[in-house]
Symmetry: C2
Subunit: 429 residues, 2 copies
């Protein structure tokens, strides 16, 4: 149990080695899948001028800002999300890049919220965006990226589903029902399952619409937009359409979405969205004062909810643990059975490390039993025992408890490299 | 030229894709070398309680803090460095980990300084520390890590040198000369080459010491401490002592160092230190209120100075460029010579990506010439041309301009995987 005097600030996390390795697993999967999809990585500053966030609509975020004045009197903010910086950077540099841009970013964001499970004041977000392409093929590419990210994290069909819709469907509905300001109407749809039926009915009535009309609209797949149908056909050609469901109740809370919108849901806890995204064609122009008037579609996944989901899903957790084991901190622990051979051992250690082997060893004199205990704790697969008989050495497998003599005439680096590239099985003694 | 309206805050950087790839190169080398040395990664929050930094001595940092009050009235600070968080985390969790701890961290730090070349308000620091080991072998292990980091970054003998000393040498000097408070005396040594000789002479006179006595002490290698000699012998056994120089003028500015101290210098610009570190045996106890009273030795390297040094050193720059090319965003660009074959192409793209190949393609209809231009821009090694004759396809090498037919009966994924694992040479047409 951690000593309370040394806790981080509420909502902030310490990544001790295991937590950091899990974070690195997420980073590694996110980067690998983004790379396969031809996305390139960028990174924005952690701190931006507060203006940038005030310009972006959606009042909610501005009450949750870590906002302050710097020593030069500037009104600055710890970034609550990544899209505003993206718009700024693209506004500044877009002439340098052919369109569409397929850019992704992984980094910490900050919101002053009540800390709870799956929600912290500092969290890490994986953001992927396609800028400068209005075709629904871009939305499909992004949704395919989201699906392949889930698959690469070890999830399977039956664990998750992408529920998607298109704000265009609701804009047609509004037109049919004489609703002039859809931005007042859409938030009701967003909260259909969150508010009481009476409250919903009352809000709908203000637009002369009944709950029955809304439910009938939602349940009719004919109301899918043309873009939704294109996305479905595109994903079908990729062999991924089984992960996509039309769900016209998905409109996403933020005002700036303009087209296809989607959320990834954990099927077992069906109310939990683990990621989401959508098309926001006007936002870049707003944020960049018209300098980057690019159609855009983007997607974001936070590290906290997805980590919980992995840990609750046995086969996904198993894949993560396998990765953690493959990326263990140490391949070989050198046991100094005779401390007078330290110099000779250092020479071997140096050569092994230069060959790319992860090697640890005791930095001060310890008895052999304690050294073997340290070897076990290090997670190393092998212990290399250097003793009085050097240059003869023993290479012990710490899993199978077998050992192999390394003869003076052998090159110990070659012998060890050969062993550690073998699958983990008993050595021939 | 970037549009001035969209600049980041002064001293903060945008990592557009090339800058981000260079950052990733540094991360990759730092992590790979730390891994070879058996160090494990941790990460601290970006924001800490300001108390943590006020506790740490060295008044200088506290005037450069990004310090503010959060919405809950807490006095909080963007971390200016990583050691204070490390002490807090180890104070909270040290019972969970066998000693010594070999931990490293890579992450952004923040200081309100005047931005200039090699110095920003947000910079990235690579920190490696060994906690819980007082032997000079720990200092040697850390200095070896620093040397191997430089070598892995493509530097060679003649590019850099580690200048090391030991505060113990100067404590002996102080004892010999009846100086009671070395913490008043050491800062003079730290500034020997920065202040005018008359100013130095005056400051030394206050301790009844002459410049001649100081210079004589510095130039006599007999004044190296026992720990320095151990470190030298240890590095010699590793084949790394040629990178180490005794330099008794190195004492490091910060008050908390207690033993061996070192800096990596760029030999051509001999006044530029690119990294530094040393032993700080009392600091963890101070920072953790005695909870983690561990001897410690640590080392830090910032991303800005080292990147400049790489870019000024042709062979190091070449290694970086080779890495950037190996990690290019795209392996294969799919050219849709007949847009009616988009579905078929999507199927192939999906299979290639599942096999780990990085694939990009046009998201909307484009003429073939423009598609080939995009293929070139993407950095892909190959263009896969999908046209009317599908399932027959053409695989073109974009470097050698040769091409290969993929026959309908062949598995295109196998053919392409085979080609992209070949060294980059002309395809047999």
């Amino acid at each position: 149990m951690a000593d309370k005097r040394f806790q981080s600030l509420p909502g902030f996390r310490d990544f001790t080695p295991r937590d950091c390795a899990i974070r690195n697993y997420l980073f590694s999967v996110w980067k690998e899948v983004a790379h396969r999809y031809g996305f390139v990585e960028y990174e924005a500053p952690i701190v931006e001028s507060t203006d940038l966030y005030l310009k972006k609509s959606g009042g909610e975020l501005t009450t949750q800002l870590f906002r302050f004045e710097d020593q030069g009197g500037r009104d600055i903010t710890l970034r609550p999300e990544l899209t505003a910086s993206l718009a700024r950077i693209v506004g500044a540099n877009q002439r340098d890049y052919p369109k569409p841009l397929k850019w992704f970013e992984i980094g910490p964001c900050f919101r002053y919220e009540k800390p709870q499970k799956g929600r912290g004041r500092e969290f890490i977000q994986f953001n992927a965006d396609i800028l400068g392409e209005k075709s629904a093929h871009a939305d499909a590419e992004l949704i395919a990226l989201a699906i392949d990210t889930m698959l690469a994290l070890g999830f399977k069909q039956g664990d998750f589903v992408i529920r998607a819709s298109d704000r265009q469907s609701w804009l047609s509905f509004c037109e049919q029902h004489g609703i002039d300001d859809p931005s007042e109407f859409l938030p009701i749809i967003d909260r259909l399952e969150k508010l009481k039926p009476e409250a919903i009915a009352e809000k709908l009535a203000a637009f002369q619409v009944t709950r029955e009309q809304v439910d009938a609209f939602i349940s009719n797949p004919e109301n899918a937009s043309d873009d939704f149908k294109s996305i479905q056909a595109d994903l079908d050609a990729r062999g991924l359409s089984q992960f996509l469901e039309l769900d016209l109740t998905i409109v996403r809370g933020l005002a700036y979405y303009t087209g296809a919108v989607f959320e990834i849901f954990d099927i077992k806890k069906s109310m939990r969205a683990v990621a989401g995204g959508g098309r926001y064609d006007g936002l870049l122009a707003t944020l960049s004062d018209g300098s980057a008037d690019l159609p855009a579609t983007g997607f974001a996944m936070g590290d906290m909810v997805i980590r919980n989901f992995i840990e609750e899903t046995p086969h996904a957790k198993m894949e993560m643990e396998a990765w953690l084991q493959r990326n263990a901190p140490c391949d070989v622990f050198v046991v100094l059975a005779d401390d007078s051979k330290r110099s000779q051992a250092l020479g071997i250690i140096s050569r092994l490390r230069s060959a790319g082997v992860a090697v640890d060893f005791p930095l001060s004199r310890l008895n052999v039993g304690k050294q073997f205990k340290k070897a076990e704790q290090s997670g190393a697969r092998f212990a290399l025992v250097v003793g009085a008989e050097f240059p003869e050495m023993q290479l012990k497998s710490l899993s199978s408890r077998t050992e192999q003599r390394i003869a003076p005439e052998e090159n110990p680096v070659d012998v060890i490299l050969h062993q550690i590239t073998q699958p983990d099985g008993p050595l021939i003694a």
